[in-house]
């Protein structure tokens, strides 16, 4: 593990009852690296992503973020989570808050920043994701793609050290996938450290520095995208790719 590693998972195991969802997973993500996690449904990719900010506690092993092992539930964990942005499949924007309030609430309430300053930053972020003109609307008034872009802005407002994306486009209508991937691609270009669980092979190809393939809770294979898609080594990866790339 290099000095530059921001996220390090060592021998991580997790069970849901008898189901071994994370089977001795080792993964290190460097600062500024974009890692895309792919694999069949139920392979543990989402659990892996959620374990990194302890939304999903693990049974054994260690997860280190920026040199510090994940704290147990409490204030220290809350502080750590504030440094890791998370984007969910189902957006999870706060339904009773406006778009602008959604983006501002973290810095103002968690970081205790002044709302005047946060307001400008929040508007700049909304501008960046192309939704500044909807700032006063409520989440339910926006399309899925717009909501997901707000969710990204909400995470960025905390000025996180890393971003976790848990299938960010899986709940979107096809025509809205692009607008969300565009935002993610530009983030990746700017050097944001990202762990992205996705089924978007196009995004994996052009934005990832490394592709991680998971199956049955195990991290089966990892390689740069060009190499992985051209010549997967494991039979499971070959099988998976043959199923999704033939259509």
């Amino acid at each position: 593990m290099s000095d530059d590693a921001l996220i390090v998972l060592e021998n991580v195991n997790k069970w849901f009852g008898p189901l071994h969802v994370l089977d001795d997973v080792n993964l290190s993500v460097a600062r500024g690296e974009v890692v895309v996690v792919i694999g069949p449904s139920g392979s543990g990719k989402s659990t892996l992503c959620r374990a990194i900010n302890r939304l999903e506690p693990i049974n054994s092993g260690t997860i280190t973020f920026d040199g510090v092992p994940l704290p147990a539930e409490g204030r220290a964990l809350a502080r750590l989570r504030s440094e890791v942005g998370m984007v969910f499949q189902s957006f999870n924007l706060f339904a009773h808050k406006t778009i602008l309030q959604n983006v501002m609430i973290g810095p103002v309430k968690v970081r205790k920043e002044k709302s005047v300053e946060v307001h400008d930053r929040a508007m700049a972020l909304l501008e960046r994701v192309g939704i500044a003109n909807q700032a006063d609307k409520y989440p339910a008034q926006l399309s899925g793609g717009q909501q997901q872009r707000v969710a990204i802005a909400r995470a960025l407002a905390m000025q996180p050290k890393a971003m976790l994306f848990d299938e960010p486009t899986s709940a979107l209508d096809p025509e809205m996938v692009g607008e969300v991937l565009d935002v993610m691609t530009s983030l990746a270009r700017e050097g944001m450290t990202m762990v992205v669980v996705t089924h978007e092979m196009g995004f994996a190809r052009h934005a990832a520095k490394r592709v991680v393939f998971m199956a049955d809770g195990q991290l089966v294979e990892e390689a740069p995208p060009a190499e992985f898609f051209a010549s997967p080594k494991s039979d499971r990866a070959k099988d998976f790719l043959s199923k999704i790339l033939t259509h």
Binding site: M86, S90, N92, F94, G106, Q141, A151, R154
Partner: protein
Amino acid sequence: MDVFSDPTNRDVYVTGFLWILKLTAASSVFALVIGTALAAMRVSPVPVLRAFGTAWVNIFRNTPLTLIIFFCYFGLYSTLGFTASDNLELNNYWLGVIGLSVYTAAFVCEAIRSGINTVPAGQAEAARAIGMTFRQTLTMIVLPQAGRAVIAPLGSIFIALSKNATIVGTIGLAESSNAMKDLINSNGNAVFQIFFVFAGTFAVVLIPTGYGFGWLANRLAVKR
């Protein structure tokens, strides 16, 4: 003939309903505060708090209100010497408020807890993911949404509370049911008139209140 044209009788009637109003107002505020706190305890990760909340609900929700009010009077006041005011009438009033509040809080708690269950788990997850503590998640994200979801059932609870307030008459407060009993005792020929005026007063106030809560529930509903 007309009982309510007599100023003395009218005064009994008005005083009775003023007491109901005051009992309802104070008790609904306390019940809302205590009930919300109890609901927070029942969903908290601390086992002792959860047990306390559960015990409160099970005890007070399943004890007849008359018994609770009697206990406040004979237990708290007569035996333990708890006095809320030197004025006998005000003392009875506050004993009534205590009984009504602890009883109604149990129902408020359960309504809010069911409201919490209507808030998708993702809302709390997103709150935790941006670094909110349990308390912040509950007070800023979950409870505001839960509260909006249970305005209509809370309305029913408060309407029930206003009628339950008549039980405080059993410990001597001259609230509306006591007032009605007094008027009937001295005007036996006008039982129906007195009865319908008292019942009608409740209906005239509470029916619009019910619709008001329904309107508020619609207006404040969280769109998903």
